[in-house]
Assembly symmetry: C2
Homo-oligomer: 333 residues x 2
DNA sequence: TTAAGTTATGCTCAGGATAAGTATAAGCCA
DNA sequence: TGGCTTATACTTATCCTGAGCATAACTTAA
């Protein structure tokens, strides 16, 4: 059946010759299992939360069912039943299928399809074991809202430097350190909040993460941050990275907000996600000139300081234009 | 979007209570099959090509194998064997698992994991049925390098208008037309080259695409553009959209270029992908000020007009900095 | 009642990025 | 040599962005 050329031919990862999508599981060896993993995000009081299970040690996940029209609609239905709130925005994250990913060598024939979903924190369904956990519990080094967190300089930097030094050759040592410096913003490089996954993977590679060492690790050399089952923390990192990138060119923050909000609340939500502060006046200017929000006419009650106007998301923008950024010097002729 | 109700809860799409990733195929009903689909892109003489099989009617695809360490490395090995060229850049595209996706109702328990890969067109392995096809054969309306293609005004616009008009209510009619206008840039809106997938899906919904009507369609009302098996054209649209977005913030074009090239060749490649022209002088300024390229010292031979300097990609940039764009009014304090 | 603290909101300003165009250089070929 | 083509340098106007100042509108504690 497999006709691909050369030596990798014997097993043919991709079967060029055969007509596609007609392979009806020729051998049962090809039957695998799939499950879904969800990164469900909410922001409450300026803190980003994710839904967790297993005593905050895992993301909600479960076996794949073909009941629904699509994965997306299935996930949506499930979350709505769980939280009682409509799942505003759903987006596929990544499909993980690397061998040995789970640490469970015997059953590698599994695929995880992960999704990112945005909701609001509210009561979670009755008997559920689920709860909302702050996402910075899992990634303490990602919160730069009050400046670089102390553990960066105190713990991460020296340990990453030690890891770099432990490389066999001088060239490799430099390479490792440069990678660390770029992803973590050492040596007065800029902190790039989008590199969540790269940072996690670097720490993993440097064996500073419990998941990387499992049984064998001596906790003393590890880095703070709550671990998760299997590769769930990596999936979470993927989700955070995606969301941090997305809020910059798509109006998705609003999925995390109540119907009415002040501009400061909106700003705090953005800052919570991005893990860093934004310039207040400029943020407000951006919102207004892009016409993303409109005044409700009401005024926030119960506040310190001057009361703020309440705004709502202008859903119309979604219909009016396709929001997207460009960076090529396109010519308009 | 249809919102499924709560009754789906009975079977728990996601199994919150159970510990994750320990589901060892409780019932064989959960065993599914997976396959890979690859969107392999090359640019030759300023034309974007994709690798196809089945007489240009399908993307390379095949059953999933767990032989390799990861999906990615498996794909890479396969492509290198096929083309004789290293696969420069690989990125996961999307996992399709919607029911009824293939039109084959009997075996819906299949998942397709798709990848985007960038190479260069060269000899394809001997016995292979694979060949490179221009991607605008499949999406003629996407090529705006010589202005909006005539078929847009001549065919697409009237048929989409008819489709809009055929909606039951006036509100729906307006909504449909507005969607069409945004995605296709009607009524002096800007053409947004990134909306490849949205445009395809709109045409699909309007039943202007052969894949949407299958057996039942009368070709007269369809729209030009070569169809593909199953949902391969949708996957291709996903790939094109992703690539068009990516070239704007990541230096991936270089994966499609030979080792040495002139700035005009580079520009032509970008234009081929984006489907529109860029401003020559500004493009060149961008390349230089970002230090993405460096002169080789050599000069292009065999040219009309003044000979151009040859450049090469400065691979060092990848190590020096993490290229990424930001659009939030971040405060630097 | 007043001063101090807090948040909201309007406005300015400088520097940089962007889009576009002008001008000149350097090759080819008839 | 003149005309065609492409390469490359420079200029200009405009817009965007980051940053800061100033003032308004409240609350709270002295």
């Amino acid at each position: 059946m497999a006709i691909a050329s050369r030596d990798c031919n014997r097993n043919g990862l991709l079967d060029v010759a055969g007509p596609p999508r007609k392979t009806k599981t020729p051998s049962s060896a090809r039957a695998i299992t799939a499950d879904l993993v969800a990164v469900l995000v909410a922001v409450t009081d300026g803190e980003p939360k994710i839904m967790t299970i297993a005593n905050a040690g895992a993301l909600p996940s479960g076996p794949f069912e073909f009941k629904h029209r699509s994965l997306q609609s299935g996930l949506r239905a499930w979350v709505e039943a769980q939280t009682g709130h409509p799942l505003g925005y759903v987006e596929q994250l990544y499909t993980f299928a690397d061998r040995g990913r789970t640490g469970d060598a015997q059953s590698p024939h599994s695929v995880s399809i992960s999704y990112l979903g945005l909701t609001r924190e509210d009561q979670i369904g009755e008997g559920a074991e689920a709860l909302w956990s702050g996402w910075y519990d899992y990634f303490p080094w990602e919160d730069h809202r009050e400046g670089p967190p102390p553990l960066l300089a105190k713990l991460l930097t020296p340990r990453l430097r030690a890891w770099a030094k432990s490389a066999p050759s001088a060239a490799l040592q430099r390479e490792r350190w440069q990678r660390a410096a770029i992803t973590f913003g050492f040596e007065d490089r800029e902190w790039n909040e989008e590199l969540v996954l790269q940072r996690y993977e670097l720490l993993f590679e440097a064996a500073l993460i419990p998941e990387a060492v499992r049984e064998s690790g001596n906790a003393a050399t590890l880095v703070p941050g709550r671990p998760m089952t299997a590769d769930h923390r990596r999936i979470l990192a993927t989700g955070i990275a995606r969301l941090r990138a997305k809020i910059k060119y798509r109006p998705v923050v609003f999925e995390l907000m109540p119907a009415e909000f002040t501009l400061l609340q909106l700003q705090r939500s953005v800052e919570a996600l991005a893990g860093r502060l934004v310039h207040k006046q400029n943020f407000r200017r951006l919102m207004e000139q892009q016409q993303l929000v409109e005044e409700t006419g009401a005024i926030a009650a119960d506040t310190v300081g001057r009361p703020a106007k309440l705004f709502r998301f202008r859903h119309a923008v979604l219909a009016e234009r396709a929001v997207a950024g460009t960076k090529l010097p396109l010519s308009r002729t």
